[in-house]
């Protein structure tokens, strides 16, 4: 009985430490608001059709005001609606990139780390090749080769991202593999694939999830970059990168609002993911808690 009580305290305390971390808490609230506004965008704005790309030339270049709090763009579209609909693309690109990267990288890294030998060598040399190029440049090259589109941009960025997760998963696996309980399982005659699934995977997931949370912000940034140079989301749809790109020609002529608000959205979202990831890392590792 006593043992159970201790468990409840411990599970509770990870969440508790996350909630006590003010930066993580604010970040989490901010991200939840952004996600909700993206999901419920059609209900939250009267300009849903403009968010999807329909022009309203009467409101062309309207500065921020009561009608359009963040102003309107060159086709008169409400910037708030554009940001909300753009968030759908930007956030989903970031999340998809990280998800695909984990799904490809983690199993490869685990297998390489657990089995070792020539398989390890082969996987690691392939990751070396990928890591040898600057990631953004490689993503641009792949996206350009595949053709400019939202999904191709996701694929292109994920292709540059998975080696990091393969590396991380392999390093974690190498340390877990030496644990006595792995040897104990082998001596019982448990099959390798069961050992990987039941003993290694659960033990390496925490650092991978933390890294994933930290990476989503960066992935959103890179995705915005591809969209900015026209290799991502295509008109009439927009994401934050496209919006910055649309506004860049008018920034110096006084229409500052077109690029500023999407820029802020990217900056704040990327930062929030970083704080959140950091908070999760601290909460998941009791040794780091004391330093707070």
């Amino acid at each position: 009985m006593k043992g159970r009580a201790v468990l409840r305290i411990e599970v509770g305390s990870s969440a508790w430490f996350l909630l006590r971390d003010r930066a993580a808490l604010i970040s989490m609230t901010f991200l939840i608001l952004i996600v909700l506004s993206a999901v419920f965008a059609p209900l939250l704005t009267p300009y849903a059709s403009q968010g999807m790309g329909a022009p309203d030339l009467a409101a062309k270049f309207e500065p921020p005001g009561i009608e359009h709090p963040f102003g309107a763009d060159g086709l008169g579209r409400d910037q708030v609606a554009r940001l909300m609909f753009g968030a759908r693309r930007s956030l989903s690109m970031g999340l998809l990139v990280v998800l695909i990267a984990i799904v490809i990288g983690a199993p490869l890294g685990m297998i390489a780390g657990y089995i070792g030998g020539w398989i390890d060598e082969a996987v690691m040399r392939v990751t070396d090749v990928f890591l040898a190029f600057p990631p953004l440049l490689l993503a641009i090259a792949i996206a350009a080769a595949l053709g400019a589109s939202y999904i191709n941009a996701v694929v292109a960025i994920a292709a540059t991202w998975w080696p990091w997760y393969a590396r991380l998963a392999r390093a974690q696996t190498l340390s877990i593999r030496e644990r006595a309980y792995i040897e104990a399982a082998r001596s019982i005659g448990v099959r390798d694939r069961v050992i990987i699934r039941r003993h290694i995977l659960p033990n390496i997931m925490t650092p991978i999830i933390v890294q994933g949370a930290l990476d989503v912000g960066t992935a959103i940034l890179v995705a915005a970059g591809l969209s900015f140079i026209g290799l991502g989301t295509q008109a009439p749809f927009a994401d934050w990168g496209v919006m910055i790109s649309d506004g860049r020609l008018f920034f110096l002529s006084g229409r500052w609002w077109m690029s500023t608000f999407p820029g802020l959205a990217i900056f704040l979202t990327a930062m929030a993911f970083n704080f959140l990831g950091d908070g999760v890392r601290v909460a998941a590792d009791p040794r780091l808690r004391r330093m707070r």
């Binding site: 009985m1 043992g3 159970r4 201790v6 468990l7 644990r179 006595a180 309980y181 040897e183 104990a184 399982a185 082998r186 001596s187 019982i188 005659g189 448990v190 099959r191 069961v194 039941r198 003993h199 659960p202 033990n203």
Partner: protein
């Protein structure tokens, strides 16, 4: 005479340790050298030695968790080293190991049920109900209630965790259980509980134990025979009472006298060995013990002493006993096999 359950002949294990990045100065570390031993069904063989003597390497070679460099391991009539991977996996049901520290040998993320069910899942197709019943009966057998099904290792005391590890080892009805320092991480009062449990389980199930330890007082309590290892070799082997009453190898004598006994009055003459155990990467020539031995002779520095039989069941590898019988034989292997033929 029936074939022993486990029979090891001339088992050697050499690691290659690379000392530089490019492995130019590779060094061979001989962790085991020509180890031979037999374990009869139902008996307990105690394997004693200090850290680095190769006792844990030997256990891992027996289970084929490590590949020995040469020699043979026969278990239940099968040559383990020539078995295919699948046959070896099946064979593992019959030989289990319990490791020193249960908190590292039990996956902290699994609860009591999953820990004990793991070997059953690997080898048996049981229904949920059968699985649960089997796990609960195993728990009962090691003295735990079904309360422990949902507990994770960090919620257990050392003794409870070691009982769970024992239940795991027993799940597949093994013939041989290798116990690698199973009580070293435990407190005295808990150690006694586990030792009693081990003896009771052995009597009930007819288990065969290979009990590996550095603690002589524990090993004499549980073992029928004891083998003493030093730097990769078995230097002495005899019945438990025999080896305690008349230790013959100078190393065994020193080991016995170094073990602190809780009786301040009965102070025996203490032999304090000089120096430390040499590195297995660079062992002394001849008898590896000679730099620390107070009886060292010239021959010890050049020639490894072949095992001699000094009493019916007492073998020792030491030049002090060169005049003993069996002069013609040159290894314990031959002595053992000759026994078998008679």
């Amino acid at each position: 005479m029936a074939e022993p359950l486990l029979s090891v002949r001339d088992l050697s294990m050499t690691y290659v340790r690379r000392s530089s990045l490019f492995g130019r100065r590779a060094r061979n570390v001989a962790a085991l050298k020509e180890v031979s031993l037999d374990i009869e069904a139902g008996e307990t063989l105690g394997l004693v030695g200090e850290s680095g003597c190769g006792k844990s390497t030997l256990a891992r070679c027996l289970l084929r968790l490590l590949r020995p460099s040469s020699g043979s391991v026969r278990f239940a009539g099968e040559d383990l080293l020539s078995l295919g991977d699948d046959a070896m996996r099946r064979m593992r049901q019959a030989m289990q190991i319990v490791l020193q520290n249960p908190f590292s040998s039990l996956n902290p993320r699994l609860n009591g049920f999953d820990l004990i069910a793991e070997p059953l899942r690997a080898h048996r197709a049981l229904s949920r109900k059968e699985m649960r019943d089997k796990v609960v009966s195993l728990l009962a057998e090691v003295g735990l209630t079904s309360d422990f099904l949902g507990r994770h290792p960090h919620q257990l005391s050392g003794g409870q965790a070691q009982r769970i590890a024992l239940a795991r080892a027993l799940a597949l009805n093994p013939a041989l259980v290798i116990l690698d320092e199973p009580t070293s991480a435990l407190d005295v009062s808990v150690q006694a509980q586990i030792i009693n449990l081990l003896i009771r389980l052995q009597n009930q199930r007819g288990l065969t134990y290979l009990f590996i330890t550095h603690d002589l007082s524990v090993v004499q309590h549980i073992s029928d025979r004891i083998a003493v290892m030093y730097l990769g070799r078995i230097v002495e082997e005899a019945g438990s009472e025999q080896i305690f009453a008349e230790p013959q190898h100078p190393y065994t004598q020193a080991l016995l006298s170094s073990t602190p006994a809780p009786d301040p009055g009965g102070r025996r003459q203490r032999i304090i060995l000089p120096g430390t155990v040499p590195s297995a990467a660079n062992p002394p020539a001849g008898c590896a013990f000679h730099p620390r031995c107070s009886h060292v002779m010239d021959i010890c520095r050049t020639q490894y002493p072949a095992p001699r039989r000094t009493a019916p069941e007492h073998f020792v590898s030491c030049h002090l006993y060169d005049s003993a019988q069996d002069m013609e034989s040159n290894s314990m292997h031959n002595l053992l096999d000759k026994d078998a033929q008679q």
